[in-house]
Amino acid sequence: MSTLLDIQQAFRAGVLGDNDRPARGFIVEDEISSDRRVGIYRNNTLISLSKALAACYPVVERLVGERFFDHAARTFVKAHPPLQPQLLAYGGGFAAFLDGFAPARSVPYLGDVARLEWARNEALFADEAPVVDIAALQRVPADQYGALRFRPHPSVRIVRSRWPVQSIWQVNQADEVAPVDLDRGGETVLVMRPASQVVSQILTAGDGALLAAIAGGATLEEAAVRAAETDEHFDLQHGLVAHLQRGTFSTVSLDTNRGTAE
């Protein structure tokens, strides 16, 4: 006798596959075939998950057009169905999938645009947290600045691309798309949600390296050294103030046992 698990595994194969064959033996057939019937579930599943991807990746969809996107999305859904029952968490692997998706080879920056859109999606649902303002640092003696450790706001994401990915994203927010010179080089993009809106903006190489090092747990001094190694134009005061003005950090503490600056 078939168990429920057999039916569920067969049904899954029929829904994510191309025909009802795996499930056919379990299903009552009448004037409407089992293939038609299973096809209804296949359609519901593929359409709803493709729509969820389209909602998360509107610029990718705009770049390749609705039909191409739908084909790519359905191919992705069949190969990488959701592993969690939450659509807002679904689709993180789409960028890597697009990198290897042969029909998209002529749009080599597509995967990185998807990375940026996924970062925006993650930022949208990230935890709430306070933001460190500049005033909080005024209580710190100047000679202890190097020992400060910041923690980025939970919504902060950094996207690095060899393509001008934020510029591509930005021009695609308008009805009329202005051209982007792809030869202008890569961009490092900071994505975050300091208040209710997600913002993404281009960072200098030095500011990006500073933030990446801080996010990795470095003190301000350690992070500044790494930023200076990355970018000869790096200016610590300018970079730090800019991050504080954006609301990039949610906590700050002194790297000693003498207490915190919060």
Binding site: F26, I32, I40, Y41
Partner: protein
């Protein structure tokens, strides 16, 4: 009726779900609900859409929750999974419930997860003793983890299984009896499945324990035509929640209400989501039927007393 499921402590003013018409809260309408407090007696959300750490969607619901009674309707617990429930997901659902203190919590008699893969559709169960044991065990587990009674909704479906040994209404009645859960009666689903599986929708109403119904759903469906090999037109009704409620479904709704009495009723509209005015107008139709049945019931009550 809904009040027996109320948590004792809550920071919100609107607790129980009234015996009136509510609407499903969908993303395009959220700004209007935050700003204008449009007239809906209560709201229902898909619980999974509010699993998340933070962000504007959660903040909006916290604001809206101050103004409306709320029901949390799950679409991802997969109560019919042979492999049992996902405890991490169950904990996420509990966190949403703790945060928003809904008057009612419901899920579906269906499955969506197997082998760790979530298929994002409400998939059908065979109506067997084995499936009944499994779903009852899962519902017991969920009610225990959530610390409250759940309602379970009768499904719509497009296939039936050779292994089924009982009709759907018997399966539903047995679930309610064994787990102590309540019923969410979806009259559109009854109409859709009655057509697709050739049973009598009224007989379904006769067979399920109507005294356990704490909520009713109405929705629109899609009429899918298939041409046979010989060209004969075949019709499958698809529960797409994508249009107005059909007259036949309103009729079935009224019949159900006449027997159950006024009950919280929700208009679901999830695809081709219309302007809010159109959705609210659909809820007013439900409200009219609710009022007329309420009047009938109170006059019948007077006769009984006399």
């Amino acid at each position: 009726m809904a009040d027996q499921t109320q948590p004792e402590h809550t920071g919100f003013d609107h607790l129980g779900i009234p015996d009136r018409a509510g609407v499903g809260l969908r993303h395009p309408h959220i700004p209007a609900f935050v700003r204008e407090r449009p007239p809906a007696a209560w709201l229902e959300v898909h619980t999974e859409n509010y699993v998340g750490a933070g962000g504007p969607r959660l903040r909006a619901l916290e604001k809206i929750r101050q103004d409306y009674p709320l029901s949390c309707h799950g679409v991802g617990l997969s109560l019919g999974s042979a492999e049992g429930l996902d405890d991490d997901h169950l904990a996420n659902i509990k966190a949403v419930i703790d945060r928003f203190q809904p008057g009612l919590v419901s899920e579906h008699v269906s499955w969506s997860v197997t082998g760790g893969v979530y298929l994002n559709d409400l998939l059908p169960l065979p109506y067997t003793d084995e499936a009944l044991d499994i779903i009852c065990r899962n519902i017991d587990h969920a009610q225990e983890a959530l610390g409250r009674q759940m309602l379970v909704e009768n499904p719509s479906s497009y296939v039936s299984f050779k292994s089924s040994t009982m009709p759907e209404w018997e399966f539903m009645a047995a679930i309610v009896k064994r787990t102590g859960c309540g019923l969410l009666l979806d009259v559109n689903n009854i109409h859709v499945s009655a057509h697709n599986h050739k049973f009598d929708a009224n007989a379904y109403l006769d067979a399920v324990p109507l005294d356990k119904v704490q909520e009713i759903h109405v929705a629109g469906h899609f009429v899918q035509h298939f041409a046979d090999e010989d060209g004969t037109d075949r019709v499958v009704l698809i529960d797409d929640h994508g249009t107005h409620v059909e007259p036949a479904v309103w009729t079935l709704f009224r019949r159900a209400l006449e027997r159950i009495g006024p009950t919280p009723t929700l208009v679901e509209w999830d695809n081709n989501i219309p302007e809010l005015d159109v959705l609210l107008a659909e809820a007013r139709k439900a409200e009219l039927i609710l009022s007329s049945v309420r009047a009938q019931h109170s006059s019948m009550a007077n006769v009984d007393v006399a």
